[in-house]
Symmetry: C2
Subunit: 212 residues, 2 copies
């Protein structure tokens, strides 16, 4: 059960994989679209829905799997039903040169569902699922605070998860947006830029993306 992503970052940094084994065409994307909503569909039904032959579907399906485009299949579950109804985001400031230790400690925390290294005020964001707020508090004060690599934390609770897509595909963008495009074009320029803010990375963090 190795949970640490073996792949490179999603930020276009030092990734690792250079040669692309497979370039995805519209059919590949269609397959991924179907698989997003029904990961247990049979390859036969998949072929039908996508509009290709079974053999072709099998070939493409296997290629997507073998090439790592599809990392794995999983079930989406209702956390409330399993008793982990509290979700929190913990923003962590990591002490320089201690990323390796931070990562190692993360691997020991099964209640962490997601951890990303970010630009901005903090260095990392972790998402945890707990039974109650007391457990979140205990996790932050007892476990995180005891990691020397952790300089500071900031915790925020999730009140509601409004939207959660399994994943986004490039083909998604051509669906809802065209209707709004003209509006965008017209309003371009009138945008009150002052109300938004981009937060860059702290000193030297980008260089520390991989372990230390």
């Amino acid at each position: 059960m190795s949970d640490i992503s073996s792949h490179g970052g999603s930020g276009g940094g030092p990734s690792g994989r250079i040669g692309i084994g497979l370039d995805l065409d519209a059919t590949h994307l269609k397959i991924l679209e179907v698989l997003r909503d029904n990961g247990r569909i049979s390859v036969s039904s998949l072929a039908e829905r996508v509009g290709i032959s079974r053999a072709n579907a099998y070939t493409r399906f296997e290629a997507l799997r073998a090439d790592g485009v599809i990392k794995r299949f999983t079930a989406e579950i209702d956390h409330v039903r399993t008793g982990l109804g509290i979700t929190a985001l913990i923003f962590v400031t990591v002490r320089q040169q201690m990323w390796r230790q931070f990562r190692a400690e993360l691997a020991r925390m099964p209640e962490v569902e997601y951890c990303a290294i970010t630009t901005g005020q903090h260095d990392a964001m972790i998402q945890v699922r707990m039974a109650d707020v007391a457990e979140v508090h205990a996790m932050v004060t007892d476990r995180l605070a005891n990691i020397p690599a952790v300089k500071a934390t900031e915790t925020v609770f999730i009140l509601d998860e409004v939207l959660k897509r399994p994943y986004v595909l490039p083909s998604d963008r051509d669906k809802t947006r065209p209707a709004r495009r003209p509006v965008q074009e017209e309003q371009r320029g009138d945008v009150p830029l002052g109300k938004m803010r981009f937060v860059g990375a702290a000193e030297g963090r980008a260089a520390l993306r991989k372990d230390d």
Copy 2:
């Protein structure tokens, strides 16, 4: 393709579902554990791995599905391979009384993978997948800024996704932690509490969790 979660929040608020249709035993959790890593496993193999009969596995599997504990099955994909290698978090401050509009606009944005309402300095956090940073910038300035409900935004880029579990289960906690428990007990009290911070919700936001 309705992406907005029909379920209640994950924060224990006004959920909707009251009567629990199914209380999960250790076997149920074991099933979910297997399904987390292999959502396409056959029910026969599942039965084998969990150590129950095939018939029983079918019954429990169906019960978990019908009861909504398993929301759906999906494929996990590599965003870099699909050309959406840039991930950003956008923290949004929403104008009071305009949550309904904000939610409606969100539904029109297919590149948004996740949106949660949070406590703390901001009101919501959305995660987007884009082809490049320019697209993120365009999304924030052209699309988000044009929503009257959006008072302000703060954008942060994800440099690396260190850990991404499909989901956390209550049974996970009894795996890695026991080894560290004694350490926790010893260090309890020596925790430098000053280095962490809990951020509460802004005025009246909890009451506005559902639309408006």
